[in-house]
């Protein structure tokens, strides 16, 4: 019998990759900094005595933390969605979570009076509220459906509906605000304080608790739902909890960093040939790889300077540029 890669080896190698990106990424970018000096000052000296190296490090660290959390969350959510919807084409956004999140965010961008009272927090809250409400709507509509198709159809319908709502806001909005909306849709990890990654944590914690609580059911659900039911799995409630868990993971990331695409499709496909259909291994492996991948994509995005452009490249563009050739290689090798 040909054995798969040992799970501990696999997790070890992926952790090394992920940890490596997190440790090394702060030293590269538009400005290169001296790693040892930056870390030493950041760890041992008060803020006022920091050199520019430590100051740049302090600005980059929250961003890297956000990238790692967002990447891990989207990759794990993608793996759960692919299993639940029994479809390798599923992504964290298939059920319309990102459309609803974008609609909520656009409301706040288009009507600055809303933001005036709430600041950036309001935009996040608006996005999160609409994204979570959309998950509830999909579940309510698909409640009677016993198969994944019902969920997908309900999700696609709401995707169109919120997509139309988003277009309407763009049509009615002040043209000067369209650029902000476009930029938001491209995904951004642009943060300089710890407030953003820290405010993401409780949501991710909630999503993870739900997903891990129902983790034992995932292998059974991936195989066959009727067989799973005959084996004692409460199929309907497990599916509901997992969808809510994966939905919270996605919605919170969308609200904090915009819809960063491709990652949720790519990472589960890249990892699955090595983990098999054992979700105890697949989900942690997805999180570790997804986190590392997004840190890497963000490093490229903020390192590339384009002539005539003052801002750095949106990370959503970079995930596709880096991920698509890799995904094509997997397809050609027949590893998916």
């Amino acid at each position: 019998m040909k054995n798969r890669t040992s799970p501990w080896w696999l997790l070890g190698i992926l952790s090394l990759f992920s940890l490596g990106t997190v440790i090394l990424a702060p030293f590269w970018g538009a400005e290169s900094i001296d790693p040892w000096n930056a870390w030493r000052e950041w760890l041992s000296q008060p803020k006022e005595q920091w050199s520019s190296d430590a100051q740049i490090l302090a600005v980059r660290l929250p961003r890297i933390a956000l990238a790692w959390l967002a990447g891990g969350s989207l990759a794990m959510s993608g793996a759960v969605m692919q299993t639940l919807l029994r479809n390798g084409l599923a992504t964290p956004f298939t059920l319309g979570v990102s459309s609803a999140g974008s609609f909520g965010a656009f409301l706040f961008i288009a009507f600055p009076t809303l933001t005036a009272y709430t600041g950036g927090f309001g935009l996040r809250l608006g996005s999160l509220t609409f994204a979570l409400a959309e998950i509830a709507l999909v579940l309510a509509v698909a409640k009677r459906s016993t198969r994944a198709e019902g969920l997908i159809l309900a999700g696609i319908t709401f995707n169109f509906l919120f997509g139309a709502g988003t277009m309407m806001i763009r049509y009615l909005a002040d043209p000067y605000r369209l650029a902000s909306m476009e930029r938001w849709l491209m995904g951004s990890l642009d943060t300089v304080t710890w407030e953003t990654p820290l405010s993401l944590l409780p949501w991710l914690g909630g999503g993870l608790i739900l997903v891990f609580w129902r983790l034992p059911a995932l292998d059974f659900l991936a195989f066959d739902e009727e067989l799973a039911a005959s084996r004692g799995v409460a199929v309907a409630s497990a599916r509901r909890d997992l969808l809510i868990g994966a939905g919270i993971l996605t919605a919170s990331v969308v609200a904090h960093s915009g819809p960063i695409g491709f990652l949720g499709l790519l990472i589960p496909h890249a990892v699955r040939p090595f983990t098999g259909m054992n979700h105890n291994l697949l989900l942690p492996a997805c999180w570790i790889s997804g986190g590392g991948f997004l840190v890497l994509a963000d490093l490229f995005a903020r390192s590339l300077q384009w002539s005539g452009r003052a801002s750095e490249m949106p990370v959503g563009i970079m995930t596709a540029f880096l991920g698509a050739p890799f995904f094509l290689w997997l397809l050609i090798r027949g590893r998916t």
């Binding site: 983790l215 195989f223 098999g276 054992n278 291994l281």
Partner: protein
């Protein structure tokens, strides 16, 4: 020791009952084949017997214990069910497939990131029972229809159930694999398992099963050994004129049932 249905009435939402007061008794160590025309309730009866379909009335008992009062995991330890159409969404390996059943029996913990030795032993043992140990390490999608069915049966056997319910396990198998599968079910019943198998192949069922249960109109129409129930007066209400009854090939064997050729009425045994 038996799995029994008492006056079971069951059906699907917003539709009339498919099963009407079904009485059935599957004893441990017996191999029963459930036969009947399409839409007569064979799969519905299987689902009702393993608790997947709520009953409208009546009850199902496992060794005298009411199935409705059993917890789903407890139920899964007693009853192994193999649905007719299984299409995994992703590629599973043979050992992963069988290990899902072994996990129900308590071999391998849910949080193990890989198959423990204990789980692998259980997987090997189940595969040995269906003579498919050589398939370890293969992807389910790369197997032939017969191999795939044997692995799926092994996966249900790994649950270590007392009763095995299979919904058309021989569909799409060639003659050799059909006979091999039924011989295996006969052997498993001989080892003490209660086996209920839905099939459309009357002759195969008559050759291997201890008894045939004929379902018609949601009720048990007849039950008995092949030579006792494969009779024109019993089969005609079920299949009309669409069958021919030929004499047994050898003395003591059941008669042979074949589909009638177009326009030809049923023949008679000599």
């Amino acid at each position: 020791m038996s799995l029994s249905a008492h006056r079971v009435e069951a059906g699907y939402p917003n539709a009339a009952s498919v099963l009407k007061e079904v009485e059935l008794d599957l004893q441990a160590g017996r191999f029963l084949c459930l036969l009947g025309p399409n839409g007569t309730g064979k799969s519905t009866l299987c689902r009702s017997l393993c608790g997947l379909l709520p009953l409208r009335s009546g009850r199902v008992e496992v060794d005298g214990q009411d199935l409705a009062g059993m917890r789903p995991r407890q139920r899964a330890r007693r009853l192994g069910f193999l649905p007719q159409d299984i299409q995994p969404a992703f590629s599973f390996r043979v050992e992963e497939t069988v290990a899902l059943g072994a996990r129900v029996a308590g071999h391998g913990r849910w949080f193990d990131p890989h198959l423990s030795e204990e789980a692998l032993d259980s997987v090997r043992s189940a595969l040995r029972q269906v003579e498919a140990e050589n398939l370890l390490g293969r992807e389910l999608g790369s197997l032939s229809g017969g191999e795939r069915r044997r692995v799926l049966v092994a996966s249900v056997l790994a649950q270590e159930p007392d009763y095995l319910l299979l919904d058309e396990p021989a569909a799409m198998l060639d003659l050799h694999h059909q006979a091999q599968l039924f011989a295996m079910l006969q052997r498993l019943a001989g080892e003490g398992l209660g086996v209920l198998c839905v099939t459309h192949d009357v002759n195969l069922a008559a050759a291997f099963a201890d008894e045939l249960v004929l379902l018609h109109g949601g009720r048990v129409h007849a039950r008995g050994r092949g030579e006792d129930v494969l009779k024109e007066d019993i089969l005609r209400p079920m299949f009309g004129n669409h069958f021919q009854l030929l004499p047994p090939i050898e003395k003591g064997a059941p008669p042979v049932v074949l589909p009638a050729q177009s326009g030809q009425s049923s023949g008679r045994t000599s």
